[in-house]
Symmetry: D2
Subunit: 326 residues, 4 copies
């Protein structure tokens, strides 16, 4: 059954019997068409990132979401980790003071060789501009880094200067990117991502420094977060402890040091999205702080595509400062 | 509905409609009665540890399991981690040489104060000899350590010398235990567990040293295992990489550095147990190396209770060497 | 020149020209004779550990030190690390509350093979009962662990139950030891040391838990100490920061994160000992809290030998509880 | 006594009685004048970094060193660590394959507040353009990062794009810098340094990735280096083990896991420089691989100043790519 057939068939079912939302987990070029059709037929959408093939599609999607007033979620799953939520809340609560610097990285090594030549499925489409879009590593993992930085810091990237590279001969898209960041309000930063950093796993990580404190989090040990202070010893926050805030607690299933992982973080995006749908079905109004509203939305989708476009453009212009399109 | 009613009701249903197995997750004194009734009514059983209230019950259970030829599983969930399976396979494959020393620890801090006085539910029954059994920390977490040590090393504890303590005034059971171990075949070891080690989470961990190499694993970072060699640099094994063996791979759901946690480890016990049941239903004979057979069984259940009994007895005799009952 | 000739020659020189003290860095059986002769000729002594060949010699040495009123220091160098001093001060200041549990380890792997058969100099004398004494690993590294535990906890080991082993065929002394500890005042503990733990470097480490908090320190990363609390996040203390106490500060030479190591720790013992000598020469009275008094002394020397004797005796008696001789 | 008086006085002494070299440890603006006078009077020079106040002085110094044929050393002390030498040797030996990416960082937090306003001596001159030069953090710590990257990778930075910032109000020089790097031969990189990264100590660190492998080293744990491979588990190299090469061994004083630190690394620069002087005095010709030649020299001095100049210029031009002057 094609997605078209599925959507048509479901759309004919009465409310209560038909599906609640469409989850899109296809390669990038196949994100927008099913999202569009789902929305047009009255279904909420939860989509893989990056949201669309290019920025133009993302803006069309945004219009459609606004018009249909349906829910749209984007699985930037790393924001589902309890300690990432804790970091965001600490920044928002002013615990670190005014933010000055953000360093965000997403190093991988799995494309250090010409893996796509072997026909490996994941490598095949991710390095193919027809299915992946204008960027390789920047679209696949750089957007996760961009989203994580904005989620935790609460700041918007204003402009960037990017130097992206294709290291592996024969590859059609970038497999490494180094980016200088300037945030609105004066904070500075660096973002780098790589698929040729031999020996690195999916180790997305971030450091945020404010006037009063700093935080550091790494996905390869996601239940630990370092919290740094001006004059006091560094603290080690661990998932599921009583000293964490309510959002971290709400995103946690197990007692302290019963490590939670990637699947639970991913599930947290789904849970919140599902709870939001449920509230809509039950016509309940959610408080602004309700965890059900805590998942990446169409705004993040557009920003991700604007980020990709800006990086590619900046890099083509020899790392000239480039603003993210609105 | 009581468990009795449930079992009676289900037993009346025809095969294919009735439940496949009973999962027991009650306090210790309520492990044996439902297990017994389930087995007597033809149901497989998957039970929390320790298996029973005392060794006598465990032996009765063992007889019943043998007689009914039904499946019995015990959720020593830490053996569900991929790298724990890798460790076991490396020892079994002779990679570390003959095993000489095992150090296994399970430190916690959550009972450092008289928490049960507050009526906290978990603290309440776990410190109550009527519901928990003859031991506190030794039964609750020491048995996990005992099981992990035997699982990875492939060795049986022959005898032990134990010094257990109740540090918190008013508590009725031990909240700390230090145990010297002697394994069959000559290996030596230490086991210690604690509920009063302030600041420690559920950090069960183990080190095993053989003539050629050693391994080290900690639950608070379960996707990492250190592997140590005589003359070569230490290696860091990480979940989900291609260099791991087939059992570790079979127990893994996600790509490298997408951390898996406690829930997945726990689920691995359930998965294997369920696959064993399925094989029985389909009258398929499983190879000895089939992952479906890799879960703690009635033998582990009896050993756990023999361990508790030996520790309590040894400690009463001022840490006299005490053999584990057969 | 022999040590006898040196001491005789120096003793004839006038004060101010002759040496200030004798440093003894020979194998164990050659600790007492030069120490004795030096003291009898009016020289202070700074000696390697263990202090003597056996407890009897240690007691004779103690008498001599008391009689001559000369200074005697013992290079338990691990107590020279700034964070070890910080740990001791935090315990003494009541920050951790009443101490309940001490876990101290000294694992090494360098004698996992029959290295002494190759004539390697260090292995040769350390495994030779005629030069090393009644114990191998227990004397060489177990005494460091014993000293570190008493230094930081401020508690005396009352009795112990030991199980020591010689794993390598042909070796004459123990190369591994597991020991249960009972401290005066009710604290419990474990001490284990090993020379056959493949892949372990000189990683002496300690954990101390009180009613309110705990500390953890490892020599392989000596500028970091973990501090654990009942309800608050774990803290990471680092050498040379302003939040440390005066004794840690006095033992530090460089700014934060300019790591200090083994040589500086060792030097700290020498510095304090030298400052004590200087005060004596200048007839200055030192306050009890003066860092110049902070080095292991004859009392530690006797305790170390009593520890060795008790471990060997306990192990011969199948780990029977054995008191440390006074 | 002024340095002028000292040099004049020493210059009058006969060879063998006069000093062998001058060590310069003053603020930056006072590096060149004494270096110049020392060289002109026949003395070798070992100087703090950055070598001079500006690039012009560095080039004058270079001429003088060439003309006098005297030795000039620069204390980029981090290159004195054994594992840094091991990393350089592994890269030079082709173990990592062709280098693709270098990430080098030097984060500090000690100037997160307006410390110089308090008159603190170190903060005072380091933030003063008259004594520190054209750059703050870039000159003080960025040059260390630049030197470490070139030392280990064996590659020269060709051009850079820099965005430097003064975050603390009232400060006269940059306290943070983010820099994109392009190396000769096609490798890419990032360098960032900061004095406002709250809670960071002197944690200079580097990651280098080649086609076959990668290395990672952090000064806050300098005796550990991670070595990463395409298909094999990550390895942990530790100072003083037998598997390390001869240069790492020559720079080590103690057995494995007797941690060495900053002072020993610093001393290694002095030792090599002193051995080079000795060889000259003894008219011995040194092999190209002799450790005595392994210390930063006038070429590094000029590159450091060219780096500072390029960063400041690039940043003034809004991060325009800027070549390092020859």
């Amino acid at each position: 059954m094609t997605y078209q057939e599925m959507i048509e068939k479901e759309a004919k079912l009465p409310l209560g019997e038909r599906m609640d939302f469409v989850a899109i987990v296809t390669p990038n070029h196949m994100h927008f068409p099913p999202a569009k059709m789902a929305l047009e037929n009255g279904f909420h959408v939860l989509s893989d990132k990056p949201a669309t093939f290019d920025l133009k599609e993302a803006k069309a999607l945004e219009k459609l979401v606004k018009k249909t007033r349906l829910l749209y979620g984007l699985t930037h799953n790393y924001t589902g980790y309890p300690l990432v939520k804790q970091a965001r809340d600490m920044v928002a609560g002013g615990k670190l003071g005014k933010i000055r610097k953000v360093v965000v990285e997403y190093p991988q090594g799995w494309l250090a060789t010409h893996l796509e030549a072997s026909g490996q499925k994941q490598a095949d489409w991710r390095t193919d501009p027809k299915r992946s879009g204008a960027a390789g590593s920047i679209g696949d993992i750089g957007t996760h880094a961009e989203n994580l930085a904005e989620y935790i810091s609460g700041l918007e990237i204003k402009e960037l200067a990017a130097d992206i590279t294709t290291f592996v001969k024969g590859r059609k898209l970038d497999d490494d990117g180094n980016v200088l960041l300037r945030f609105k309000g004066g904070a500075k930063g660096l973002l780098h991502c790589s698929q040729i950093s031999v020996g690195e796993e999916n180790n997305i990580n971030i450091r945020v420094y404010g006037e009063l404190g700093g935080i550091e989090w790494h996905q390869n040990e996601p239940n630990t977060m370092l919290v740094k202070w001006l004059e006091e010893p560094m603290q080690v926050y661990r998932t599921a402890n009583g000293y964490l805030g309510s959002n971290a607690a709400a995103a946690t299933r197990t007692p302290p040091a019963h490590p939670e992982g990637y699947l639970e973080a991913f599930a947290n995006i789904y849970v919140n999205f599902a709870n939001h749908i449920r509230a809509k079905l039950e016509r309940r109004k959610l408080a602004k702080s309700d965890p059900a509203l805590d998942y990446p939305k169409i705004k993040d989708a557009v920003r991700g595509m604007a980020f990709i476009e800006a990086v590619v453009k900046s890099s083509k212009n020899n790392a000239r400062w480039t603003k993210l399109a609105k």
